[in-house]
């Protein structure tokens, strides 16, 4: 009797395994849904909330607008926003929940480069498109490992090329490099080290700082002793403000170049008077008023800015713009694919050409999952606590 029961149990187990396999095939068949679910993960709390919050607000505003205009493919979109707090572990849990439980067709975000890199593998595993709002080029390079990953911000590589071009014009050959020891900063350092020889630039000092350091006086003193002709600092707003304050304290009197990661008013507030004189390449949203009326991006930027002002009564920043572009590109791809199938959406994004966004004009391809080129940057200088356009 016991033996028979045992055999019976084993038989049941084998059967259930088969049942599982059959089930898997069934699930892959497209389902008819009334709403198109789109996931969004932003760091709207935690250290990067200055970037994540406008992204969340923008995405929600835009989703509302799209729905009021009749939605996509005749269906309303449902935006499910989750907080990462800038923590990769939370982001990993969030994307699993979004894809497997909520069944989203694609995800926009996350806010920071580090988190984007952390979830890259998992998104590829789950075969769901991700349009990141973070800048590091490593997010979409190498392309073989980024099949399902796209991003909207201008790459750090292009920003550094732009800065090196400026330096070359000014005959700067020796620079001191100071970067954060995390995602965006590390990516910038890597690109700067790689690109410097091409522009005959020598990196005489290469220092890192942590977000926990109260100031970076030690690093600046080291850089000062190497007598660079200019400083290149790579981090987002808060860290960069810390660096510029230390540079002013240590009286290091050379031109300072920074990343597009500081292009929001958080930097101006944190750096105060010390922040003046910094030169950076960035998107055109911060200098919207100074753009010529004929500039191709002006109309779009103005409409985004006005809508955002009307809804939230505060100025938008470029990070919100990245979220704007991510969602618009995704919607465009869904329209183009005329389907909510993930693979079709993915290949539709690769087909998007000449798409005008807040950060620039996107031309995606099978090998370029960012779609922007150097024309997406203008050069801005900080003067009297304001962003001043230097080169359009």
């Amino acid at each position: 009797m016991k033996k028979i029961l045992g055999y019976f149990a084993i038989l049941l187990m084998i059967l259930s395994l088969f049942a599982n396999c059959a089930k898997k095939e069934e699930q892959s068949a497209p389902q008819v849904e009334e709403k198109i679910k789109i996931g969004a993960i932003f760091a709207y709390t935690g250290p990067a909330s200055f970037l994540g919050e406008p992204e969340k607000k923008t995405a929600e505003m835009l989703a509302e607008k799209i729905n009021s205009q009749g939605g996509v493919l005749g269906k309303k979109i449902e935006l499910i926003v989750k907080d990462t707090a800038g923590d990769p572990q939370k982001a990993l849990n969030a994307i699993k929940e979004l894809v497997q439980k909520d069944g989203v067709v694609a995800i926009i975000g996350p806010t920071t480069s580090g988190v984007s890199l952390a979830i890259k593998n998992e998104m590829n595993n789950m075969q769901t498109p991700l349009i990141s709002c973070a800048a590091s080029e490593d997010i979409v390079v190498p392309i073989e490992e980024s099949k399902w990953i796209f991003k909207t911000p201008q790459s750090d590589r292009m920003a550094i090329e732009k800065i090196f071009e400026l330096m070359k014009e000014k005959k700067i050959t020796k620079i001191g490099l100071i970067t954060a020891d995390k995602g965006f900063g590390l990516g910038g350092a890597k690109q700067a080290e790689k690109l410097a020889p091409q522009f005959n630039i020598q990196i005489v000092a290469n220092e890192k700082f942590s977000s926990e350091d109260p100031d970076v006086n030690t690093q600046i003193t080291k850089i000062k002793s190497k007598k660079p002709q200019a400083i290149l600092c790579w981090d987002t707003d808060k860290g960069s403000a810390k660096v510029i304050k230390s540079i002013r304290t240590m009286k290091l009197d050379v031109p300072v170049y920074m990343s597009h990661g500081i292009a929001n008013d958080g930097y101006l507030m944190a750096a105060g008077e010390a922040g003046n004189g910094v030169i950076l390449p960035c998107g055109r949203l911060v200098v919207l008023d100074q753009l010529a009326d004929t500039h191709p991006q002006k109309a779009l930027l103005k409409s985004y800015s006005d809508e955002y002002m009307a809804k939230y009564n505060e100025k938008p920043n470029q990070f919100g713009g990245y979220a704007y572009d991510s969602l618009m590109i995704l919607v465009e791809a869904i329209k183009k694919a005329n389907s909510t199938d993930k693979e079709q959406i993915r290949s539709a994004i690769e087909q998007i050409k000449n798409f005008s966004g807040t950060a620039g004009t996107y031309n995606f391809s099978e090998t370029d999952h960012n779609g922007l080129d150097k024309s997406a940057f203008c050069i801005v200088e900080v003067k009297d606590g304001k962003w001043v356009l230097v080169q359009e």
């Binding site: 259930s16 699993k96 952390a118």
Partner: protein, 322 residues
């Protein structure tokens, strides 16, 4: 030897865990729910080892998350940096944890009570700081891992890789459970129980206290290492903060919640602490407070854990009747 009751419970457990994914998969978003049981699985693996250490050897460790980190980074080194099969990663994880566990168990297990807790806590923190400062492994930003591949079997080729991981961790758990049950019902297990109650008395009876303590400590670090390796593969990414002090405290809470002298209790403890946040929404920043509160309440009112509730109830009824 393993008792009849245990054998029955083990088979029951095996059948339930075997069919659980099938049941879960019939729900919408089944993959996600199976996915919840994978972390439960690898935390169980660590907690089972920790249970032997806390409950049977009477020692405490607030640093087991550190050993999970060692396991995870061993896998990173083998699979990502050297490009070898994941099995070597597990082997290195076991070897490293064996060596490190053995070396530190010598001085550390001489300590008692708060001092032992502090020392293990320190070790956990040291491991975390080293992994953060080691730029070769990506520093604070963490590092990614390739797919888990055992021989030619790639875990990520499944449509729901959760299935493969589920059966891997729970099979391991089953083996460790059987091993632990055998162990505690053996001579060594009885020796450990004696050690737990009174170390001096045990020693005077000729029990080699140090050897037993070392053995259990090393065994539990090895389990933590394997669990860390699997966890890293499952997340496909590992950070120094994935297994931090919080994780260590959570593990101890799981063991104590379930009841320290009961191996099955550990399963309850892990299950409850992992499932409740899933049902009630994440605790997020309140996690520390919640865990602390649970720990205090359990230690004050139910020192033998949740599994002692039926016994307590029985005793209460008995009293009323009498």
């Amino acid at each position: 030897m393993i008792t009849k009751k245990d054998t029955f419970q083990l088979s029951f457990f095996f059948i339930i865990m075997f069919f659980l994914p099938v049941i879960l998969n019939s729900f919408q978003g089944g993959g996600y729910y199976i996915g919840i049981f994978v972390p439960i699985g690898f935390f169980t693996l660590t907690a089972l080892g920790l249970n032997l250490l806390i409950g049977f050897a009477g020692q405490i460790s607030l640093g087991h998350a550190g050993f999970m980190t060692i396991g995870a980074y061993s896998s990173v080194y083998i699979c990502n940096k050297l490009g070898y099969s994941a099995l070597y990663g597990f082997a290195l994880s076991i070897l490293l944890n064996f060596i490190i566990g053995f070396l530190i168990s010598k001085p550390i297990l001489k300590l008692k009570g708060h001092y032992l807790a502090m020392a293990t806590l320190g070790i956990g923190l040291i491991i975390q700081i080293i992994s953060r400062e080691f730029m070769y492994f990506g520093g604070g930003e963490g590092i990614s891992l390739p797919d888990l591949k055992i021989f030619d079997f790639n875990f990520n080729d499944f449509k729901h890789k959760e299935f493969a991981y589920y059966y891997l961790v729970w099979l391991l758990n089953f083996c460790v459970l059987k091993l632990s049950l055998n162990f505690i019902n053996s001579k060594a297990g009885r020796a450990l129980k004696a050690l737990h109650i009174n170390e001096l008395a045990a020693q005077s009876l000729g029990i080699n206290v140090t050897a037993y303590k070392t053995f259990i400590f090393v065994f539990s670090t090895i389990l933590a290492g394997i669990s860390g390796s699997i966890a890293a593969h499952y997340n496909s990414y590992i950070l120094p903060t994935t297994f931090d002090l919080h994780t260590s405290i959570k593990l101890v809470t799981m063991v104590i919640l379930g009841g320290t002298l009961n191996i099955w209790g550990t399963l309850f403890g892990v299950f409850i602490l992992m499932i409740i946040p899933e049902l009630l929404g994440k605790f997020d920043e309140y996690e520390g407070i919640v865990l602390g509160a649970v720990l205090i309440v359990i230690l004050l009112f139910l020192p033998d854990g949740l599994t002692s509730i039926p016994k307590k109830l029985k005793r209460l009824c008995f009293k009323n009747n009498g």
